[in-house]
């Protein structure tokens, strides 16, 4: 927990934050509306005797009272997919519409890409890319289990991603759920902080900046970008958004989120950021009894 000490100045009720980070996380699933309505999925769970509680902010997210959420008919049929509650946030903030072309830059293992497909009623094109070939098989497995027919899976570095392989030259929306130091997954992975170093923050933030820039470039004017990470480090969050604001044609926009959260930072460690970064959301584990997350929404302006 020691690396988290650096967030004492920015987290309200820091002791509650630390205590939450030490508690294990429960099992959450997302209802996959490509294959079943929320009503049908929950009826199947009830028949199986699996208790659940719906998330107040999203009727498609359920907290399950079972230790083996993968061994249910509901999961076997692909009606539900194990997905941490906060990780269901960025796709809902992106708000893709049926028929659109959407890019998920760092898509494996596919929870968010298939959620995008579901939000689009599985109509349109979701380009699910990941640079890690080993993780592509998990992405493909999940896409098939969940019945997502609108996914095109590619294996490339998002930083210099080429659209030449497709017959369109820009996306309507892009989700940049960037590789990160994963501090916010500490409740799921107790060793998440083991390799933590400021050097790693420098390294990974360089990758994040490259990906978000390419996402803005590859998205048409008026299009939407969502940038998200499962980490608290401002170097990987606000500083990355600040970087793209200064270099590409885009601006920060508001979004509604009925999960409790804190505003994005406008300064950290002597650096000042665009004041509109307050419109980003920092979700801390003690606020909703979830993992940690950062989400910012951008509009492409040219």
């Amino acid at each position: 927990m020691e690396p988290l000490e650096r967030y004492r100045p920015i987290v309200d009720d820091f002791e509650a934050f630390l205590a939450a980070c030490e508690r294990p996380l429960g099992n959450a699933v997302r209802v996959n509306t490509i294959k079943a309505s929320v009503d049908r999925a929950t009826t199947v769970l009830e028949e199986e005797g699996v208790g659940y509680e719906g998330a107040h902010w999203n009727p498609r997210v359920l907290r399950l009272e079972t230790d083996s959420p993968g061994s249910t008919w509901s999961s076997f049929h692909g009606f539900t997919h194990g997905q941490e509650e906060v990780s269901a946030v960025p796709a809902t903030v992106l708000e893709p519409e049926p028929g659109e072309r959407v890019w998920d830059c760092c898509a494996a293992p596919g929870g968010k890409a298939t959620q995008l497909a579901a939000l689009m009623d599985d109509r349109g094109t979701v380009v699910a890319n990941d640079s890690n070939l080993g993780r592509i098989s998990a992405l493909r497995f999940n896409a098939e289990r969940l019945g997502a027919t609108s996914l095109a899976v590619t294996n490339d570095d998002a930083r210099n991603y080429s659209l030449e392989r497709f017959d369109f030259d820009e996306f309507d929306r892009a989700l940049v759920d960037a590789p990160c130091s994963c501090e916010g997954t500490i409740r799921k992975n107790p060793d998440a902080l083991d390799g933590w170093s400021e050097g790693y923050l420098d390294e990974v933030s360089g990758i994040q900046k490259g990906i978000i820039r390419r996402a803005v470039q590859a998205t048409g004017e008026g299009g939407t970008i969502v940038y998200s990470t499962c980490t608290f480090a401002p170097e990987e969050n606000e500083a990355v958004v600040q970087h793209v604001l200064e270099r590409e044609d885009c601006r920060i926009v508001d979004f509604d989120l009925s999960l409790e959260h804190s505003p994005g930072l406008t300064e950290w460690d002597g650096e000042e950021y665009d004041e509109r970064l307050e419109r980003a959301a920092r979700i801390y584990p003690h606020q909703n009894d979830t993992g940690g997350f950062f989400v910012a929404k951008l509009e492409v302006t040219a």
Partner: protein
């Protein structure tokens, strides 16, 4: 909806299938440019003839081949041919005597089926999902690939593909999808 190449080719001058990329199925056999490739019409007819899935179910989808006979169903935009990791989901194995639908395809589209659907009781359904073969004498329909389904939350739900021969239903659920429920 074209095939790999824009120009049709005459018999005897068909391209060999390139298993490394996705090629969209030709609309009909007459428009085929790749040797041995099934047509969209043949695929849709197969699902209609075997399982009574209405052809219009697939109006908004394209079908693609990658590898030898592995057919994918896709709802998005893409040019043909295209070299990527996956396009939609696998749905059917062709280039063999008896075409075989995939487990994930019948879970996604099998609710539309009206024939060759075998309804399993609770214990049978569990055994099927675990990958077990079982004796099922009561089936008096066609032999071959069937959609195994069970009644759950008040409606029939496809579980996967079974191969029915000699009074036995063999589960075709792939190892990675098998579960002890």
């Amino acid at each position: 909806m074209g095939d790999d190449t824009a120009d049709g080719a005459s018999e005897g001058d068909l391209e060999q299938n390139d298993g490394q990329r996705f090629g969209r199925l030709p609309t009909t056999a007459a428009e085929r440019t790749v040797e041995g490739r099934a047509s969209r019409e043949e695929v849709v007819d197969y699902f209609a003839d075997r399982f009574a899935i209405p052809p219009e179910t697939f109006d908004d989808y394209t079908f693609w081949e990658k590898g030898a006979g592995k057919i994918w169903i896709y709802g998005g935009d893409a040019p043909s041919p295209i070299t990527i990791e996956a396009i939609g989901m696998t749905c059917l194995r062709t280039r063999q005597e008896h075409w075989k639908p995939t487990t994930d395809f019948v879970q996604r589209f099998g609710r539309e089926a009206g024939e060759c659907v075998i309804e399993l009781e609770a214990e049978e359904a569990r055994a099927f999902a675990a990958g077990e073969d079982q004796d099922l004498e009561r089936w008096d329909g066609d032999w071959g690939y069937l959609i195994a389904a069970h009644r759950i939350a008040g409606a029939l739900e496809p579980i996967g593909v079974g191969l029915y021969v000699h009074g036995e239903l063999r589960s075709m659920v792939p190892k990675g999808r098998q579960r002890e429920l």
